[in-house]
């Protein structure tokens, strides 16, 4: 029984590791400028965690194999080094591992959060609500019109509560249901929620940020690869959570201008 158990542990450990090693199911390809350190951090963590996982499962299995079903004359033995060795091992192995991960992790994190968006970043606003994202581009004047929450009406396709009759800034704002960004341009995404908590997650972009009602948050990123990606909500927001999504089109500058023209016509 013990040997079977040991073998089972070996097999499970190895089988578990195969899809990871083969990248059968793996992160989507990175299309951002800031994603490389995150991916690197992921690989390093995967290597360290994987080794820890395999090593400890193997040792566990081996010990179970070796030390069960003792013969009558067997004596118990104490692990050479005792508890002290274990505590040292934990502090040295895991401690340094953790420290290393932590320190390198700071770099990847800082890359995303501690640099302000460039001055020439393209501003885009995103509003989350049950259960769709809507995006707003400031138009030629470069400034977003004020939002009047009491005027928000999905029924009238006035998702942002814009008063285009009175607010000059709002007149040229373009509100869209799909997000398009020019490739290789930094985007400054300004986020707010009109109702409950939501989240903005684009796996390819290596961006995930919650919408916190009552707070304006922002992220910035640069997409480097033309294509159509999906934006999904990762914060439970109600019955339609699973279908709260939008498409992100990364377009060439010409296509982006054409797209903008088309959207403007739809206003």
């Amino acid at each position: 029984m013990a040997k079977l158990f040991a073998v089972t542990i070996f097999v499970i450990a190895i089988v578990s590791a195969i899809p990871i090693l083969r990248h059968t199911w793996w992160m989507a390809e990175d299309i951002s400028t800031h994603g490389a350190p995150i991916d690197e951090q992921m690989s390093e963590t995967m290597a360290e965690a994987g080794i820890s996982f395999l090593a400890s499962q193997f040792i566990l299995g081996y010990f179970i194999w070796k030390f069960s079903n003792p013969k009558p004359g067997d004596k118990i033995k104490t692990f050479p080094g005792g508890a002290k060795a274990m505590v040292w091992a934990a502090f040295l192995l895991v401690g340094t591992e953790v420290l290393a991960l932590g320190v390198f992790g700071v770099k990847a994190w800082a890359n995303v959060y501690f640099t302000p968006p460039a001055a020439n970043a393209v501003p885009v606003e995103v509003q989350a609500g049950q259960f769709a994202f809507y995006f707003r581009y400031p138009g030629p004047d470069g400034s977003f019109g004020p939002i009047h929450p009491d005027m928000i009406s999905e029924a009238n396709q006035n998702f942002y509560g814009l008063d285009t009759d009175h607010d000059a800034d709002s007149k040229d704002d373009v509100v869209t249901a799909e997000m398009a960004v020019p490739v290789n341009r930094e985007i400054h995404l300004i986020m707010h929620s009109k109702d409950v908590g939501h989240s903005f997650f684009v796996p390819e972009l290596r961006v995930q940020q919650d919408f916190v009602p009552g707070m304006d948050l922002s992220v910035h990123f640069t997409a480097t690869k033309i294509g159509r990606y999906e934006i999904v909500c990762t914060q439970l927001c109600g019955l339609g959570h699973y279908n709260m999504k939008a498409y992100l089109s990364v377009l060439s500058p010409e296509d982006f201008d054409a797209w903008m023209k088309k959207e403007k016509a739809m206003q």
Binding site: M86, Q130, V196, V232, G238, Y242
Partner: protein
């Protein structure tokens, strides 16, 4: 007039009527069994809900015959609606986290065995103890009653993030009466657990018998003691949060709902609430809660292992210190649940470091277990198999913590199935394995009969392989960006993952069915099992030296035991064999630490 009677603080006469004996009993052993029964009922309900969810995730438009009987509007034509899926998910999580993982390893086994292991006649406040169970029971009823209100139970997830949980019915089905009942249930539950913690702490500190120094407590008792200290602080914070949440609903206050909330095209009558406030209060409770679920398991597993290894742990004290360190650190790390919540990015890093550091005591615990296995004379039985399985699961679930502790990687993994896999392995499956190990180990003492070993082993093999088959793929799903709490996989990039979901569903149905073997074993052994001796495992701690099995009403008969040893006198040569019981005055070994 005073000062003489307190030695009998926990003592009360044996009850005679059926009601005082089995229903409103003051006896900690009966209360422990009641908690176990509650947890058993809850876990079966929770598992059933997870089956329904898994079926729906594998085959979204599958009509599950009879599903409409469970809900008024949630299953037209027996097909699950999105809201009903979320309601089942929320209830599954709430039932499992609160009414199974908190009650079974901590309240059930702790109630039964902590007083015996410290050598007391009962807990010091038996009336509070009785209230603790019945209050918890009422909390469970309140929670279940939300299935019967018009819109059904809440769909907000066990974390109940505001403002979704606070805006009321306009937020979706179950967000009206459902949430209020949920919050009420949890607030009541907190009261029950606070009463329980009070008893556990005072039992450990004050009710120890002669010779029972703190260091002579078995590791299971340490697990419960540490857990009760955590419970005392954690539940005392969750309760106010629930009170504020209820007030936002029924009194129209604005603690959690900010101004300018527009739902379904209507402005909500709230102003200025803080949504992050709920997250802070909840996770200040929520992270320690994870350890409340797992630390008793660690204690039980250590206790079971030390008995079945026939040798002491490498260090009893280091294990205790490590569990204590986990408890202390668990309060400093809660922010890692909020890396992408719009907290100041600096605070993310501040929370990241203790989270990474918490792996050190966890690793120490695992290494001590493994180092102790070296040179053991390991007995393989259902209890020890589950204890060893616990270690394997704890490692598997623990290593994924490396990822989630880092804010930069958390960007990719937050709110994906990776997290779901992580916490199911480390606090769900591992804690359940702890419960199983405890059950197979202590059942003979609780009922005077042995559990069936063959069935126990079948149960173990199915559970061990099954749990890996279910929860390992969760990690792959998470890496591929599969978001959790989705009732169907609408985004196109998740479509290729559906076959994996089908595999998980089949594994879950199989593993769940294997648990029925356990339930069968439990009931059959209860009445038809082989009679157990007083000390069937040749163990040393006090629960094995009671005069009868099950122990008499006052645990030790006329005289309280005197303790002469620490509880890990194994692998020695003595008149009884290779162990010396704590109550035996025989001096047999050199490795007495205390």
């Amino acid at each position: 007039m005073h000062d003489t009677a307190h030695a009998h603080a926990g003592q009360h006469a044996a009850p005679t009527s059926f009601i005082r004996k089995h229903v409103f009993s003051l006896d900690h052993k009966v209360i422990g069994k009641q908690y176990y029964g509650l947890a058993l009922a809850a876990v079966l309900i929770g598992m059933f809900l997870s089956w329904l969810m898994r079926l729906h995730l594998g085959w979204t438009n599958l009509a599950i015959p009879g599903l409409h009987l469970l809900t008024k509007n949630g299953a037209p034509g027996d097909v699950m609606t999105p809201e009903f899926y979320l309601q089942l998910m929320t209830m599954h999580a709430t039932i499992m986290v609160f009414f199974v993982l908190t009650t079974a390893p901590f309240a059930a086994f702790g109630n039964y065995f902590l007083p015996i292991q410290v050598g007391a006649e009962d807990m010091p406040f038996p009336h509070f103890n009785m209230m603790s169970f019945w209050v918890t029971f009422v909390a469970f009823l309140v929670l279940m009653s939300s299935f019967f209100v018009s819109d059904g139970p809440t769909l907000g997830g066990w974390t109940q993030y505001a403002p979704l949980s606070a805006v009321g019915q306009v937020g979706g089905p179950g967000e009206g009466a459902g949430v209020v009942l949920w919050a009420l249930s949890i607030a009541i539950f907190c009261v029950g657990q606070l009463l329980g913690s009070l008893n556990f702490i005072t039992t450990t500190l004050d009710m120890r018998t002669r010779g029972m120094s703190l260091w002579r407590l078995p590791l299971s008792a340490w697990g419960w003691f540490i857990t009760s200290v955590m419970g005392l602080t954690a539940f005392a914070v969750l309760m106010p949060a629930c009170i504020l949440l209820i007030l936002d609903h029924v009194a129209g206050t604005s603690f959690f709902v900010p101004a300018n909330t527009v739902m379904n095209d209507q402005m909500q009558p709230h102003s200025g609430g803080s949504t992050l406030l709920w997250q802070h209060l909840f996770w200040f409770f929520g992270h320690p809660e994870v350890y409340i679920a797992i630390v008793p398991g660690m204690g039980i597993v250590s206790h079971v292992l030390v008995t079945n290894m026939r040798k002491p742990m490498l260090s009893h004290r280091v294990l205790v210190y490590a569990m204590g360190a986990l408890a202390v650190l668990s309060y400093m790390v809660y922010g890692h649940h909020m890396f992408v919540s719009g907290m100041n990015p600096v605070s993310s890093l501040v929370f990241s470091f203790p989270t990474l550091v918490i792996t050190i005591p966890s690793t120490i615990v695992v290494l001590i277990w493994m180092g102790s296995l070296y040179g053991a004379k390991l007995r393989i039985n259902s209890a020890s198999l589950f204890a060893l399985g616990f270690i394997s699961m704890f490692i598997a679930g623990g290593v994924s913590g490396f990822f989630l502790a880092q804010p930069s990687i958390d960007i990719m993994l937050h709110a994906t199935y990776f997290v779901v896999g992580h916490f199911h392995l480390v606090m769900g499956v591992a804690a359940m394995f702890g419960i199983f190990a405890g059950t197979y180990f202590w059942f003979p003492k609780m009922y005077g009969r042995m559990m069936n070993e063959t069935l126990g082993k079948i149960h173990f093999w199915c559970s061990f392989v099954g749990a890996y088959a279910i929860f390992m793929p969760f990690h792959y799903l998470g890496l591929a960006g599969n978001v959790r709490r989705y009732q169907a996989f609408a985004p196109e990039y998740m479509q290729p993952l559906i076959p994996l979901h089908k595999f998980i569903t089949i594994a879950a149905l199989f593993t769940g069915a294997a648990q029925l073997v356990f339930v069968y074993n439990l009931f059959v052994s209860r009445y038809k099992g082989e009679p157990a001796s007083d000390n069937p495992w040749q163990a040393t701690s006090l629960e094995w030296s009671t005069p009868t099995t099950p122990p008499p009403h006052n645990n030790f008969g006329d005289t309280l035991p005197v303790v002469y040893h620490d509880p890990f006198q194994y692998g020695v040569e003595s008149s009884t064999g290779d162990y010396v019981m704590q109550t035996s005055p025989e001096k047999a070994s050199a490795h007495d630490e205390s």
